[in-house]
Subunit: 129 residues, 2 copies
Amino acid sequence: MKLQDAGLRCTRQRIELGRLLFAKGDRHFTADLLHEEAKLNQIPVSLATIYNTLQLFMTVGLVRRLATGGQKTWFDTNVSEHHHLVLEDESRIIDIPAGYLTVHQLPPIPEDTEIDRIDVVVQLKRRQS
Amino acid sequence: MKLQDAGLRCTRQRIELGRLLFAKGDRHFTADLLHEEAKLNQIPVSLATIYNTLQLFMTVGLVRRLATGGQKTWFDTNVSEHHHLVLEDESRIIDIPAGYLTVHQLPPIPEDTEIDRIDVVVQLKRRQS
DNA sequence: ATTTGTGCAAATCGTTTGCATCTGA
DNA sequence: TCAGATGCAAACGATTTGCACAAAT
């Protein structure tokens, strides 16, 4: 299973959170949303552990953090290269299907650096009717 | 001048902050950096006013907020369409020159929304020698 | 004179941390 | 057994807000 593949200890909390996150396809979530969902599913886990676990999952590549421009940190279980639509109020994040938004002609970057990743964020606003 | 063009009251703080921000070309900054700079320049202004003023400048389009993926909010005095390189530790934000990274083939978006803007963030990390 | 802005301190929000206790290997 | 994980509460950093005072029109 994913946890031991990643060299992580299989604790109750991690197993249950992993189940929530990876059971039903790709998802976008914040620490708080995941905490709420855990509560709904009767999974005993503190918010602190949620944060620790997400940090951990991130360092082993199970989830990635998104650049959304908002105050809350959003995560994505889809760690492959793809981009996002972000609704105005940050209530929702939507994947941009592959094939759109291919990025060409990378810019020059400073001497001692390399590209870690590229986030394209399309900010949407509600259309004033 | 820019302030009255935008319909804002010309207060000491706003004038001085505007001078700092727009005097020497495009800049990237956080509320805190601007506060520091104001102090260095003997401009009496509280951090709260910095925040209020930036909010205001943003709503009238004098500055824009950047999606960097970090915890601090970065602003940009260049409000035209362009994109950014972000250093790993967020210590620095660099403009991507026009002509790079043109975005093609916009994805379908939900019914009642329109595109507000597009942020492309190229996250850089230090190259391990 | 009236409206709006400012500064301070306290409040808020998301996230992290210290530490005592528990648990998986 | 015992290194590592958890939970709680306190700490933290960025940002916002309430309110008394000051300044702009």
